[in-house]
Symmetry: C2
Subunit: 219 residues, 2 copies
DNA sequence: TCACATGTTGACCAAATGGTCAGGAACATA
DNA sequence: TATGTTCCTGACCATTTGGTCAACATGTGA
């Protein structure tokens, strides 16, 4: 950063880049703090410090603590939606489930803070996400569930309850972000590397496919 | 001190009932509030209100917010340990895994608030549980892992990574307590009843056993 | 009855909370 | 240079935070 004057504290060059950078810094810092302490437990002061900005500046950019929180949730939901593509009965169950598990795992790995933020929100009773859960997400689950059932009818997989299956995939992948502290404590590692992630993905895929008796589409 | 002498000499009965009742009220209320908002986000005031007592009284009983929190964590760990019995290579994999899933499910169902409290602690980086995770729990996992591997060697189940298997069972059962808000929002129910729980338990058991290729020990 | 330990709580405190705002700083255009 | 707009932030505010404490209430054994 260019420090042109000793008297002025932050001689920030005003431009789009700075704005974008500050905004990003705030969002990143806030995601981390909110994930760690929940909505109530997070303080704007702590977020500001983590972002390296004065508290007033954070409020100036984001309006309020709540607005910042909602914005972060929305960003996470957007990421989430990005991996929720449509499926049809004609698709191959093995392929779809494999891709589903892999993508979900990647999401948790790429955005662990966002994943934990989401978890904290749900843990607290989902005060800001009720509508999303009961609406958009519920429909998404029902759509997949219908396809799973049709697959079962066609003998492509066992007739398992599709909702529980979706929850199983969500929970078992989400675990590695949300319970990272536990995973690391028990495995004794400093962090899960790409190889670990790949191994876990393969493990989960194997268990789910085999467990649901998924067979090749055209046997 | 002379006072201490008198106190120890004559174990005062007092109003044990009232004391026990108040203490229970505080613990129950605190578990709920801490689970919902995390350690930082929970306020002693809120706990006191939920318990129907003045804030001073809560502090009188529990000493401090942190002491109360630690006590709740310890209580939950105790419940947890209660279902962690020993297993040996001679046991039947199907029986052990079935019982494990069922007990874990029952724990989450019987103590959803405690379950969420634990989750919030881990989510926040497990500041109070590091030692437990890296010590006692880690050893527990390693012990089971060794047995799972021996089972695999004996051809009683597939040679899957035992640690990931344990995490799978933990996460998929824990999910129904921690993400209750999501589960209810998506299923459209007010609560999961005994039948639902039974169905989920059966589902998870089936997937895990079949997914791991668990075979009956004899014949 | 008394003496004394224990139970209870309102009043209080310093610190931290989310948020506001006046006023200066930095720019773009004229 | 002058003017207007946007950006930035220290000072400030009412409220809430965890915790203390003195004062009073209550029960117990003598």
């Amino acid at each position: 950063m260019s420090q042109e004057n000793a008297a002025t504290k932050t001689p920030v060059k005003r431009n789009e880049a700075t704005r974008a950078r500050n905004e990003q810094a705030i969002l990143t810092a806030a995601e981390c703090i909110f994930a760690r302490h929940g909505y109530r437990g997070a303080s704007v002061q702590a977020i500001a410090e983590a972002a390296g900005l004065p508290k007033s500046n954070v409020l100036y950019y984001m309006g309020s603590k709540q607005a910042l929180y909602v914005r972060l949730l929305a960003r996470m939901m957007k990421r989430w939606n990005a991996l929720l593509d449509d499926i049809s009965v004609e698709d191959d169950p093995a392929e779809v489930l494999t891709a589903f598990i892999r993508r979900k795992m990647e999401l948790s790995r790429r955005h662990p803070e966002g994943s934990r933020l989401f978890a904290a929100e749900i843990l607290g009773g989902a005060p800001f996400l009720q509508e999303y859960l009961r609406g958009e997400l519920r429909e998404w689950v029902e759509d997949r569930a219908r396809v799973f059932e049709q697959w079962a009818e066609r003998g492509l997989m066992d007739p398992v309850n599709p909702t529980w299956l979706i929850f199983l995939i969500w929970s078992s992948t989400q675990h590695y972000a949300d319970f990272e502290a536990q995973v690391l404590g028990i495995t004794g590692k400093d962090a899960l590397d790409d190889d670990d992630t790949e191994e876990i993905t393969a493990f989960l895929t194997r268990i789910v496919l085999k467990g649901c008796g998924v067979r090749a589409k055209r046997g």
